[in-house]
Amino acid sequence: MLPTNSSEKLVSFATPISYKFECSVLNAVVKLYSLRLHNFDIIGMIFFDNISKQYNHHTAALRNVTLRIQPKEFISVVGSSGAGKTTLLKLLIREEEPSEGKIFLDGFEVTAVHRRDLHHVRRRIGTIFQDYKLLPDRTAYENVAFAMEAAGRRDEEIHEDVPQVFELVGLTDRMESFPHQLSGGEQQRVAIARALVNRPDVILADEPTGNLDPVNTWEIIKLLQKINELGTIVILASHNKEVINTIDKRVVVLDRGMVVSDQERGKYLL
């Protein structure tokens, strides 16, 4: 178990600076690699520290969730609708704020980053949604390139990396299509390409196969596994029992906002 004092040590390192100089903190964290490694083994790459989230007084979406995720892990978060899977993912990208607790990514406190600097955090997290969330008036290529442009990457890098990532998701021939010209599975692969292109630390996939047929579902899952094998953390939220059981990796089961089971090579239990 995590010794509480180590978490406090980390907080004292991250909190005072982070209010004003989030960007510099991010850089500093990278530079202070040794320091990060020092905390790294204890808290992991991603650390949900006693997180609770209440939307109103009666219901709690999450209750005292503590989760540690190590580099290169593939973790499935399962549970019935309303168990808190999506809330957990939303907290990591700060779409929602936790009512209690802190979240750390790679040694800095995500929950302390100022709203104005959130994009620095989000560039390190690739997000995939059930409804793809592609920009409808941009081509597949432009959708992926947008993530790089937004991150301030150079044009040459963009010209080089975007085709590569399309090759990875197997859509080289559809780069110039608009989202409405693509099938659901193809759109989701574009979304994955976009999530990947900035080489994030983590890929968040919230029910990525929810709108897809079985064939496309397996292709997306295989793609996520491949990405994970290349070294990126994948957090998959799903209630597809078959998919979870086949992946055969760590499974965290949420029920009414609480972690009821956390197993390496787990199965969908509910």
């Binding site: 779409e95 959130l118 989000r122 592609l134 920009l135 008036d137 993530a147 442009e149 937004a150 044009d155």
Partner: protein, 302 residues
């Protein structure tokens, strides 16, 4: 880095303008209408000012002299009137002068000219034209003339026109004040309509704004293209409005000239076209950019 970003923002703004063709067209049209109202107000302002000036200068008192009044007699009256503090100008029209003006005015109608020629002698009277500094001074001036009771004076036309003159004086005051209020109200409505249209346009884009945020775009990187859009809306609307006024001013000009000979709308438009376009441009771009900035704020809060 900054230049690259600027280039990307401008390109994105241009592309979204082009690809959302209908939305852009509709927004530009509403904006054009708003600017059109502003343009009309500008012209109306110029028109009323000119019209009021002309009308005010037209209001005068004419003192007519009996046919056998000598010029010395008339000039001595003129001198007496000129020294009055309320009088701004007095002009003398001799019998011959009056005849000439009369002939000039009725040059087109052969009947009148013929009748005049048949008469043989000049039936017109010499007159003094008195202009006051302010329309409200006329009654005082005419009272003065009446009290003096010059023997050479045949008639003073103020009393014939008194009702008209007084009413005009009242109308001038009302038009000046009311026009400004009306113009402000119309301008306000136009601005509100344009603002709401842009708000709606951005409302349709709210999901995209959210997506961009999740992908890791900074707020200004998302806001930028919308501001570029606002600039495009404003510029195009300003150009279209200016173009619309060409045929409009050209068509309205001859009709207006009949009513108000000293105001040539088309010439006025041509003479001030750069200024007019500049005002439209500033109003259009200002409106577009401000509306965009205000509208997008709430959708960036994710």
């Amino acid at each position: 880095m900054f230049l690259t970003t600027l280039k990307r923002v401008i390109k994105a703004g241009y592309l979204s303008f082009k690809r959302n063709g209908w939305l852009s067209t509709a927004t530009v049209m509403v904006m054009t209408m708003a600017l059109f109202v502003l343009g009309i107000l500008i012209f109306l302002g110029a028109l009323t000012t000119t019209a009021l000036d002309v009308l005010e200068s037209k209001v005068d008192i004419s003192v007519y002299f009996v046919s056998d009044a000598s010029e010395e007699n008339i000039f001595s009256v003129k001198r007496e009137i000129e020294v009055l503090p309320d009088v701004s100008a007095v002009s003398y029209i001799s019998k011959d002068g009056a005849l000439e003006i009369f002939r000039e005015r009725h040059r087109g109608s052969a009947l009148i000219i013929e009748a005049l020629d048949e008469l043989g002698e000049n039936p017109l009277e010499a007159s003094l034209n008195i202009q006051a500094r302010d329309p409200s001074n006329y009654s005082a001036i005419s009272t003065f003339l009446l009290e003096k009771n010059y023997p050479a004076v045949d008639k003073i036309n103020y009393f014939e026109n008194q009702v008209v003159i007084d009413r005009l004086a009242a109308i001038f005051g009302t038009v000046r004040g009311g026009g400004a209020v009306l113009a402000l109200m119309l301008a306000f409505i136009a601005v509100l309509v344009a603002f709401n249209t842009i708000r709606l346009a951005i409302y349709t884009m709210r999901e995209e704004v959210g997506i961009m945020r999740f992908v890791g775009a900074a707020a200004w990187f998302i806001r930028g293209p919308f501001i570029v859009n606002g600039i495009l809306y404003g510029t195009i609307a300003a150009a279209v409005t200016t173009l619309i006024f060409f045929p409009l001013a050209w068509l309205a000009s001859p009709r207006l000239l009949l009513v108000l000979p000293s105001f040539d709308l088309f010439h006025y438009f041509l003479a001030n076209i750069l200024q007019f376009f500049a005002i439209m441009l500033v109003a259009g771009i200002g409106l577009g950019v401000l509306s965009s900035m205000i509208s997008i704020r709430r959708y960036l809060r994710v």
